[in-house]
Symmetry: C2
Subunit: 594 residues, 2 copies
Amino acid sequence: MRVTLRGGFWSDVRERNARVSLKNICRRFVETGRFDALRCEKRENPPHIFFDSDVAKWLEAAAYLQRNYPDAEVQAVIDETVATIVRNQLPCGYFNSYYQVYKPDRIFMERTEHELYCAGHLIEAAVALDRCGVNHALLPAMERYADYIRDRFFVKRDTGFTTCGHPEIELALVRLYEHTKKQEYLELAKFFLDERGTKPEEIYPWMDREYDQSHAPVREQRSAVGHSVRALYLYIAMADVGRLTGDGELLSACRALFDDIVRRKLYVTGGVGSGWYGERFTFAYDLPNAEAYAETCAAIALAFFCERLAKMGSCAQYHAVLERALCNNILAGESLDGKGFFYVNPLEASVEYAAYARRIPGMPFKPLLQRAEVFDCSCCPPNLVRFFAQVGGLIYAEQDGTLYVDQYIASDVSACGMEVSLRTDMPFDGNVVLQIRGRGRLALRIPVWQTSVACRVNGEYVCPEEKEDYLFFDVDGETRIEICFEMRPRFVYANEHVRADSGRKAVEYGPLVMCAESCENGMELSGVEILSLEGALTERTPEGIRIRVPARRLRTGSALYSYLPPEKETFMLTLIPYYGWANRGENDLQVWFL
Amino acid sequence: MRVTLRGGFWSDVRERNARVSLKNICRRFVETGRFDALRCEKRENPPHIFFDSDVAKWLEAAAYLQRNYPDAEVQAVIDETVATIVRNQLPCGYFNSYYQVYKPDRIFMERTEHELYCAGHLIEAAVALDRCGVNHALLPAMERYADYIRDRFFVKRDTGFTTCGHPEIELALVRLYEHTKKQEYLELAKFFLDERGTKPEEIYPWMDREYDQSHAPVREQRSAVGHSVRALYLYIAMADVGRLTGDGELLSACRALFDDIVRRKLYVTGGVGSGWYGERFTFAYDLPNAEAYAETCAAIALAFFCERLAKMGSCAQYHAVLERALCNNILAGESLDGKGFFYVNPLEASVEYAAYARRIPGMPFKPLLQRAEVFDCSCCPPNLVRFFAQVGGLIYAEQDGTLYVDQYIASDVSACGMEVSLRTDMPFDGNVVLQIRGRGRLALRIPVWQTSVACRVNGEYVCPEEKEDYLFFDVDGETRIEICFEMRPRFVYANEHVRADSGRKAVEYGPLVMCAESCENGMELSGVEILSLEGALTERTPEGIRIRVPARRLRTGSALYSYLPPEKETFMLTLIPYYGWANRGENDLQVWFL
């Protein structure tokens, strides 16, 4: 199924990525020696152990974007980078710019040091480049690498560990299998899954076994634990292998893990992994706002996990969570100009606190209030670009001859005997127009946030068949379906067990979680009470949307404590989409209000 | 002025300390090698660099308690300990069980390693033992040590640093001066104050200069910063030296620092030093509840600082803060059985969070939900005992011939030509009876928490003279003054800038801050809303007091997020004094309610 984005919000994001982000990240990666490291020459400052994966994600992003925004400069970088990798690959097939230069005698001996993680991302890049027809040289090289991994880990079993401390190779091998159809890659992925958590293996001494999901065999895992990106990359592979091998145990583990996340460990923004110490899932309902970690890569991984789960059917719930992550935590990871990136995505921020944390040298957690161009561990920036470049793949699904529309992103597709063109201004407006040619059956996901639906088919109001959160339409010939999912600001409340949000509410507008910044609302946002959404004023702005709502703020005297209750001052609070925060300088941020 | 405690709450605390805490701490200090270390013999496990100060604080506590609860066993430990110190003191006068054994060539070379801090506590112990007539051998030894310190730091100036990284020596030298009347000790204290912050000196590389208050000359310091115990020990010495030398600059710095604390950096429990990283003052209004550090020693130091400030007049405000610290944060430092101690005093606790933090090996901040018998850094336990043993000294003050009653603690005193016996059941009841013999003038502090005052003199209702938060009485002959400060549960609200308490209120009952624990109220206390205090049921219990108030708790469905507001379930919330929390097993704790 070939999907083409056609205008609208997500096209703009992808174009911004192609024109700005991809090149900017490239420049910063050049400046920080990430491309140079691939030459495998010894340097005074050794590269980071996972520099290879940063470049690999950039290559994957570039592969997708070159299809729609071909750029000779980018092509040159791709080709040169691939050539460098191929040139420096060891005769056996191994490639790792850190180990083969600095620790050749420790190759495949150190479980926690990300070798197979880097290999996995290189494999994903190779598949993407080949599939998009952008470069065909990396794939055979990475197949040789995968063969070598198979030989050492699966055939000879002479390595210092069995499963990598950072899952990724498993899902990459599945992608390699799906692209090459070579069964041994799927087998190897399954082998790594089967082995995980079955025997004691090396872990970080300052961490527990849950940290890298090696505490239990994967089929027995029911609670999402440990480093959130590690966890979700593992779960993606479990869903993939489960689906491809018909392994019910794997699939039910995946469903249980999804349920655990969605019922107990998910931020309203779609973020996961609330604990900054260990960048991890902590425990049920532990969702602090200011100390939230909610790594961009974790939300991206969650979105991919949802997409994989949706392939097994019963997909509306998965796509609802995917939409939440997509329109909030993930989008927030990138600045509106495409140049800066957030690694951590808090739901509350204080300029004063951040300034204090910056000032104390050893302070362990230093919240960042502005997006950065690069990080020491720079996984998120290229991950965002490769993710946004793939949103087209999230929109439609084909199941039993029906074309499912799961995400409302302006696009054209030809599938199930129909040519469909979908136009919408989502996430800012709930109107969707589908122009269909051909005969077939369509299923349109009903968003969880809508308050009413109105449908017209060829201008006539209709009541379509509704089942399991989808609207079904049988069409024939030229058909125009117009749907209006009513979009208005709504309060959302957290479960009673979420301590951080007790007595508070957030505001959603369609799929967007809204937030307030101090630049236009004044400080002390934590004391702001939203009175009602009845009088809310919603307006489109160049950056998206702005909602003004009647609110009250606390006004006390100067005493620190008083027996008199604070006075309350009414004012109009301005809300913007969460994804747009921190684009106007350093600001206090609030999502949950009194 | 000789004050004798007579029954009541504080007598019980002191007796518990004498019968249980002092001996228990002694036993744990023996078991952990703290007394043994004083023998100055090399061991496989070197003692902690500040073991000396732990023992010194125990000696000081023992000195006070031996006066009222003489105990032969305790006396034997005191005498043996003093003899060991005196025997191992170097001929020059130096004594430090760590440096003289393990790093003799680094004596007085390492600013951050607490040598003068330990010396200061040994000096305080020596003064206490001598003044209480419990042991007279330590004082001359510590005078020789102080002379040696003076010789090296002030006369020869050949040491590796000028001011100690942990203030304490300054206030100890003042106490030595006040006891011996030897001017040179006051001069030396002043010298250390004068030098502080005037030139770059060694600091911990992971900390800033504010951490140990060496960022500015002390007379220029206006904002309470850095490690809170260090800060307050310094401020105490500044107040002492300021008062004794008439140094107006020092005194106005002290007043500004007090104001900064009380207006911006004080927990409602009287705790200070909110930041666990660095155990320090952070920035204005940063008073997190669950992550509160609020070290017991810091609240004790604050109480001492208030006491010193009160000596300069205008004392009601200082004693109000002292009372807040005394009846809440400080009292909470010790378990009701006198055996366990808190170092950190949070205002919110979660059993689940604590269990999680315990489970992750490297977790930087692990909240403790039960008091421990000893800590690696065990400053708080003996500090509490020496503090409680001195509460008698906080009750009365003499100023211009008037006897001021500043704390309502059952006691007898003879001062200003009067014999006064004060009886009260505070902090549980606002009735105070004073039986006076003689002629004179009394001033009784009006607590900030009272809602009305009724006075009777010899059975007749009177309206006494009221000035600057004191009630004045001129008495002659046998006089009975009965005062009732109305004590009832009251809501207290934090300043609008305190993010952690936005939209919340605490409950005070007289000087006591109240709290709720999950053992009798169920979990999810953060979502509890107190409806009113009108229907509050207050009852005395063996442990103090219990208040039941109508409240509501949130009840949501099982979904993590919902568009429906939570239902609210009415129930009676049971409140106990904050100081009594964590005496019934591990419990969730809440002080600030919706």
